[in-house]
Symmetry: C2
Subunit: 185 residues, 2 copies
């Protein structure tokens, strides 16, 4: 990755780092646990990286925890252009995918080429949800809002009239795909 060491590269890297500050203004459906406000996608990404760090021994399959953490740090950056789309809302999935891919091109494209490609590949891997690392990362991305909703007595589920069956269907298989069954979960 020689192109990350040039003096032009630092301008590109700092541009990218300033640009992603906007992820702090993308507001999600899920509230903070104290319900004082809704969570933004930057602090959500931090929390998920911490979920990965803490629950790393709970993956069903062999994972590289350092890759999982990086994947989770960048997984929502495309929302700066494409917005957040909660799983309980009906949206045009192919238009959404298209918007996210364009966002990935633009935002990761701010970086020096080799680094931009590295991040894009990691993001596509997360989206594809096929590799062990991506399956584990995706399961945490479902687990965290579930924990928040349980801690806030239903939270966005009550608000959005989401049924028990819908919760099972939309969270269950993704979570159990990446995490060993534990305790009462």
């Amino acid at each position: 990755m020689l192109d990350t060491k040039s003096s032009y590269a630092i301008e590109q890297q700092l541009h990218f780092l300033r640009e992603i500050d906007q992820l702090k203004s993308v507001i999600r459906k899920s509230p903070l646990i104290d319900q004082s406000r809704r969570e933004n996608s930057a602090e959500h990404s931090w929390h998920l990286a911490m979920y990965a760090f803490i629950l790393k021994d709970r993956s069903d399959k062999e994972i590289n925890i350092d890759r999982v953490i990086k994947m989770l740090l960048i997984h929502d950056i495309v929302e700066i252009d494409a917005g957040d789309h909660p799983i309980h809302e009906t949206t045009d999935n192919s238009a959404q995918e298209e918007a996210e891919q364009q966002a990935a091109e633009r935002i990761f494209g701010l970086l020096p080429t080799s680094q931009g490609e590295e991040l894009k590949a990691l993001w596509y891997e997360f989206e594809a949800a096929e590799s062990n690392d991506a399956v584990f990362a995706k399961s945490l991305d479902r687990l965290q809002p579930l924990i928040h909703n349980v801690a806030t007595e239903g939270g966005t589920w009550v608000e959005g009239k989401v049924t028990h069956e819908q919760v099972e269907q939309r969270y269950g298989s993704v979570i159990s795909g990446g995490l060993r069954r534990f305790g009462r979960w």
Copy 2:
């Protein structure tokens, strides 16, 4: 780390993960770049982890980037109990250190023992600012607010009547301790 696999351990881990949600409500001095509000310590931690990921080739010394990222993810968690103390404010440093150490004991102490000890050791290493990983992490912790203040035409420096010399003194040596000189910096 066998004790992280028990069924009681998962309760401890989820307790910790719920507890650290409060870092999203610790408000720092630095504004977002768009100046819409001040930054909180959770999203700041995400941003710093991204700084490390992107600028990893810019350390003066050999570093383990995965340890640096983990260090930055946890570096502010003690603020949940001890609050944020900007470098330009005069505070009783020994009382502050004491409060942070107590916070580390309490919060990391929520985890299964071996994991709590691992995180505490990583946090103490960051605080000591002696290892290559900690020196690099600390330099990023100074660089990010500096970039914000430059991007917002002085930001909290103007507000707090901080002089050019104070900026040099409080940021300069820490940043140049961990990062190779680049471009106009």
